[in-house]
Amino acid sequence: MAEKKIVDARGSYCPGPLMELIAAMKSAQVGDELEILSTDQGSAKDIPEWIRKVGHDYLGSTEEAGVWHVSVRKKK
């Protein structure tokens, strides 16, 4: 079974949550699920935008106490 990996990018302005996710996706296996944690409100928009553009599976976003949880499955 593919593992679920948490990428904790809270408080990251540079390189930022999306860059952290891109780096983590490179190391992940096809089928792996990743959840990125971000305190940047923009992540709720720009991370799904990148996921869709590249062609991975966007699994959804939730917000809890100022932390956005964005989930993705590596598709290729």
């Binding site: 302005y13 780096a23 990148w50």
Partner: protein
């Protein structure tokens, strides 16, 4: 108390000097020992490579003898660690020497890995080593016109480097009188021109003013050297005549070989800087997996926090402060203007309009760095 620091780059050197001063009494009386293990007898000022690549610095200006940068009380050996036996509190060096420690600091840095993108290493220029920066300058000197594409891997050392080299190239071609024959095309992995939103807000109109084209959400997939095409994960093709790469980076091989962290980056507590699951092993600079900039200033500010904490642990038995995520990066905005970005875990940067004064300060810092690693600045 025996403190062993592995790595003689910016972080390891600043920490060693910081501790040598804070623990001068303990080191003199023999209550503490401070050992620095490095792979090189020379210390390189890595930000200078940007200037070497455009002919603004000579390679020999980048180096100092490592021993000359260190306090005399530091036991310095050019003998890199090859094995980490953390359960035994012991490291073993290339020469076969085993060294026990009470506190271990790992500051081995990172390295570019262009070979992870098919075709990139053999079809691009870069500037992350002396050899590559000199080669890039020689290639630039031969270049008479065409499309120059800047491409950026993730993660990379020095987050300002993509913008800096782009602005430096703009002035380089202008000075050679061929700017009108060169298209400069910048690509970037995320949906704006820099990861820092306020830096992107400044850089994007600068691109427009200088006639630099750009494409965002562009992550390198492969380089077709025969047809001179750069392909992205997002499905776009970008032709080039000259490809300038900011390659992705990994931590050092020794970290991976010892299974200390994926891709050579060690899981590290973001405020205490200890290796996750270890109370007497700390990590500095590029070697951490903390989601902040891989930059000399990050290593510098981490080293200051860690120096205070390790010294306090020796004297009081406990640390005294947290690292707050502080980073300060100069941004070279061309050959004669610069600005800066300063931020931490809770406060984003607010870069000002680039000025000549900050450029001059940056040039001064290129020399002041040697006082910085000595722990004097």
């Amino acid at each position: 108390m025996k403190i062993v620091i592995v790595g003689g780059g910016t972080g390891g050197t600043i920490l060693a000097n910081n501790l040598a001063r804070r623990l001068s009494g303990e080191l003199k009386s023999g209550k503490a020992r401070l050992i620095l293990l490095s792979a090189s007898e020379r210390h390189m000022y890595q930000p200078g490579l940007l200037y070497v690549a455009v002919g603004k610095m000579m390679p020999d200006e980048l180096y100092r003898d490592q021993r000359s940068l260190l306090e005399p009380s530091i036991e310095f050996h050019v003998d890199p660690v090859e094995q980490f036996a953390l359960d035994k509190n012991q490291v073993t060096t290339k020469s076969g020497t085993s060294i026990d420690y009470d506190i271990l600091v790992i500051a081995t840095g990172s390295r570019m890995v262009p070979e992870t993108i098919p075709g990139l290493a053999e079809n691009s220029e870069t500037f992350y080593t002396e050899e590559s920066a000199v080669k890039m300058f020689k290639t630039l000197q031969q270049f008479q016109g065409g499309k120059v594409v800047i491409t950026v891997g993730v993660p990379h050392k020095c987050p300002m480097a993509p913008l800096e080299i782009t602005f430096m190239l703009n002035d380089y071609f202008k000075d050679r009188g061929i700017r009108d024959k060169v298209q400069i095309h910048y690509t970037y992995p995320i949906g704006r021109t820099h990861s820092l939103e306020n830096v992107a807000k400044w850089a994007t109109p600068e691109f427009g003013r200088l006639g630099i084209t750009y494409e965002t959400l562009f992550n390198m997939k492969e380089v077709d050297g025969k047809n001179k095409i750069l392909r992205s994960e997002e499905g776009t093709d970008t032709p080039y005549d000259l490809l300038i790469a900011i390659p992705a980076h990994k931590g050092m091989e020794v970290v991976e070989k010892n299974a200390l962290g994926q891709n050579g980056f060690i899981p590290t507590h973001r405020t205490r800087l200890n290796m996750e699951g270890r109370t007497n092993v700390f990590v500095l600079g590029d070697t951490t997996n903390i989601p902040i900039s891989k930059a000399g200033s990050t290593a510098h500010f981490e080293a200051e926090a860690l120096g205070e904490n390790i010294a306090a642990t020796v004297k009081l038995g406990m640390p005294v402060r947290d690292y707050d995520g502080k980073v300060f990066c100069f941004i070279q905005a061309g050959k004669d203007r610069a600005t800066y970005a300063m931020f931490n875990y809770t406060t984003p940067p607010d870069p000002k309009v680039p000025t000549k004064a900050i450029h001059w300060f940056k040039l001064a810092y290129n020399k002041l760095y040697w006082n910085s690693v000595r722990g004097l600045l």
